[in-house]
């Protein structure tokens, strides 16, 4: 019996024409059936559209996996207040690198999704909050929005339906916490990006205290395909509770890093199989299923189905599907220290467990990494992480605790070794992308 080649599992939808030489243009998008879903959607009643997206089973791709149609349904109707859609394009979770290439190569998928979503929730003004540090993407968004206005997909009386929509592209200014949806709203209102107390939830009091939907780029960009090809088609991929396709981002010590679009529930083993495995002569040591805020996995978890339930059952979270793979040359203490420095730097300072806790975690970890750790430090580390996790004001705190708790679970011995021998047993030069190239050259 021949085994199906693993790459046959892939299902490029959003990425289907990224290799077109002018993939980002309206022309190219239209040639690939772009804006046909919009025609279909505008002929539906808004409530039916919401129900349709709900029935498709689409879940949020920004990390938490909340059902998208249900989120739209929470927007009160007939309340005589403006409604807003805010697209979260802040993509800053370490390891996460899907929305940015999506927007660079195919911005119209997002814009079409925005028009459909706004029609459904009766919003007449939408925003794209794009992290500021990606100017090439900002350029293409400016251009795509211009094209969409010119073609009558945005603005007044869209396609003769009487529906009006303004779309504003807004560049952030560098702050990971602004990806958290309520901090994002504060930031979009021109304030420091600090999370808000919930309730009230954004669906009731969001931007300018009006009903607001905040969705991830990939969530909204997936909507046109669902409308155009049908919810049954969408449900034919993935599982009952995690249906559909998604972008997996493979990075690190793998032979072929990049974006792999396929059905939910694929495994890392399958992805590595098609991607050529780890780099030659090396073994997988640890990996994140969905960015640095999701507890890390090891090679034990290669066959975990990468969907919301599968990863959850294995003790982590699907998160953003950012599969950062590290091989045996990598010091886990170094990796975790660096992530923790990131959380300490990005902590907004609003609540004590996170603001103070991340600071002390960094002090302890730096000492351990440098071989100055002492007996009892690991207990202290676990204790502080535990006092942040679940006790912070927003999920950034939980994210900061995740790499520490999970690495202590799988690699405690490696921490101990740092303390016992008073230093790091790893040579960072061996982990670099060019390490093996130069070694081969030296031997040649």
């Amino acid at each position: 019996m021949t085994v199906e080649p693993a790459e046959k599992l892939l299902a490029p939808v959003l990425s289907a024409f990224w290799d077109d030489p002018r993939s980002w243009t309206l022309d190219t998008y239209r040639r690939h059936e772009g804006y046909q879903a919009l025609t279909k959607a505008l002929a539906m009643a808004p409530d039916d559209l919401i129900a349709y997206v709900k029935d498709s089973g689409l879940r949020g791709r920004g990390g938490a996996g909340f059902p998208t149609g249900m989120k739209w349904q929470f927007i009160p109707q007939g309340d005589n207040k403006p409604h807003y859609l805010v697209v979260n394009a802040d993509e800053s979770e370490p390891g996460t690198c899907k929305d940015i290439p999506l927007l660079f190569a195919n911005p119209h998928a997002l814009i079409e999704g925005i028009v459909i979503a706004c029609y459904a929730i009766r919003s007449h003004h939408a925003f794209i909050y794009l992290r500021g540090e990606v100017v090439p993407v900002l350029r293409r968004l400016h251009e795509a929005v211009r094209e969409a206005y010119q073609a009558g997909y945005l603005g007044k009386d869209i396609k003769g339906t009487g529906f009006d929509l303004e779309l504003t592209v807004h560049a952030g200014a560098g702050a990971y916490i602004c990806g958290e949806e309520t901090a994002l709203l504060d930031s979009l209102e021109g304030r420091r990006g600090q999370p808000r107390l919930r309730p009230p939830f954004p669906a009731v009091e969001g931007l300018y205290a009006c009903p607001t939907v905040v969705n991830n780029v990939e969530s909204i960009a997936s909507v046109p395909a669902i409308i155009h090809r049908g919810k049954e088609w969408f449900r034919s991929m993935g599982s009952e509770k995690s249906p559909g396709f998604t972008l997996y981002s493979l990075s690190g010590h793998v032979a072929r890093p990049g974006q792999y679009e396929g059905p939910l529930g694929i495994t890392l083993r399958q992805l590595l199989d098609m991607g050529g495995g780890m780099r030659p002569g090396h073994r997988l040591k640890f990996w994140t299923p969905g960015g640095s805020s999701t507890p890390m996995f090891t090679e034990e978890h290669l066959d975990v189905p990468l969907d919301y339930e599968g990863v959850g059952a294995a003790g982590s979270m699907l998160g953003t599907k950012a599969l950062q793979c590290f091989d045996e040359t990598t010091c886990v203490v170094r990796a975790v220290t660096r992530w923790t420095e990131f959380y300490a730097h990005e902590s907004c300072g609003k609540c004590t467990p996170c603001r103070e806790g991340t600071y002390w975690l960094v002090q302890l970890l730096r000492d351990i990494e440098a071989g100055k750790g002492r007996a009892g430090d690991l207990e202290k580390l676990a204790d502080i992480a535990d006092n942040i996790n679940g006790k912070s004001f927003c999920a950034l705190g939980d994210g900061a605790a995740a790499p520490i708790a999970s690495s202590l679970k799988y690699f405690r011995a490696e921490y101990e070794e740092h303390i016992e021998r008073g230093g790091c047993p790893f040579d960072p030069a061996r982990s670099t992308a060019w390490a093996d190239t130069s070694r081969t050259e030296a031997h040649a």
């Binding site: 390891g95 500021g132 540090e133 350029r139 209102e189 990006g193 990049g258 073994r283």
Partner: protein, 300 residues
């Protein structure tokens, strides 16, 4: 006890811009403010706008934002100091940011940063004496599949090495034209800030520069199309007939390779991007390349 803290006269109000500058900025500011239902939403773009005038957020810039939005300068300062992209002191024409978040750091970002620090003789957030380059650590820039990543004025320089990064800063200092892997030919930091304020880049060819997606973004698509072979192998040597080109195929190499100055062929970053792919240790469970892998290759 004596104290170094000055408790004396409060700082005088910041001077205003010269009248012509003020008039020009006001026109821009009004355009920005009109995009939002609530004027205060324009604050982040306006701070980018004042950076596009002076290269950093000056007290004059803060006063301008406050006046345009009817806020106090304290309110504006509180916001400006929260976000890392707003500079608080004069800096270089080119901001060279090396990603040293975990994945890039491990893949070589730390080594690249060290190399540049020595080569330029400046530390983190410091500027070279000629005012050309400010060196910075940056956080994950959503390009981990192109690690290690360097950003110059927020354009992507993917798959860098210490050598390519050194060449890059040398080119910048020599005033040679530098092109990113993904993004438009570099403009100055001030010009970049204007785009961030929401004013489209009107330079000919800026939007289309470097083509569709970068090579890593196409990894899955090419496999799904059968255009790239699964579990093979640049530079594998043993089976050259199976080895795909180590570089992206010619048709898009023109679009996506790293054409840094003076010409793609001469710049290290255009050809030494570590995109080596090969099968891993066959004994390793993480690498499913086993007996059937060869068979499938034959099947295709």
């Amino acid at each position: 006890m004596s104290s170094e803290v000055s408790l004396g006269i409060p700082e005088l109000p910041a001077p205003d811009y010269p009248a012509d500058v003020r008039a020009r900025l006001e026109t821009d500011a009004r355009e920005v403010i009109a995009r939002y239902p609530g004027s205060r939403s324009a604050l982040l773009p306006l701070l980018h706008l004042v950076q596009s005038e002076e290269g950093y957020v000056t007290r004059t810039g803060i006063r301008f934002c406050a006046e345009m939005l009817e806020l106090t300068t304290a309110e504006v300062t509180a916001v400006a100091t929260f976000y890392t992209m707003y500079r608080r002191k004069p800096s270089g024409d080119y901001q060279v940011g090396v990603c040293t978040n975990t994945l890039c750091a491990v893949m070589g970002g730390d080594a690249i940063f060290e190399e540049l620090r020595e080569h330029l003789g400046v530390g983190n957030d410091e500027t070279t004496a000629d005012g050309k380059i400010t060196l910075e650590h940056i956080e994950c820039n959503a390009a981990c599949d192109f690690a290690p990543v360097v950003m110059v004025n927020w354009e992507f320089f993917d798959n860098q090495t210490p050598e390519s990064a050194k060449q890059l800063v040398d080119d910048l200092m020599a005033g040679r034209e530098v092109r990113p892997t993904r993004g438009a030919p570099l403009c100055t930091y001030k010009e970049t800030a204007r785009i961030l304020a929401g004013f489209p880049d009107l330079r000919e060819g800026a939007v289309e520069a470097t083509g569709g997606a970068g090579p890593a973004s196409l990894a899955g698509l090419r496999l799904a199309r059968g255009e790239a072979q699964a579990r093979v192998v640049g530079q594998r040597g043993q089976t050259p007939e199976h080895a795909p080109p180590a570089q992206p195929p010619q048709d898009d190499a023109d679009l996506h390779a790293t054409p840094t100055s003076p010409s793609p062929a001469e710049h290290p970053s255009s050809h030494d991007a570590p995109r080596q792919t090969a099968e891993s240790d066959p004994a390793h469970p993480a690498d499913p390349v086993g007996e059937h892998a060869e068979q499938e290759e034959g099947d295709r």
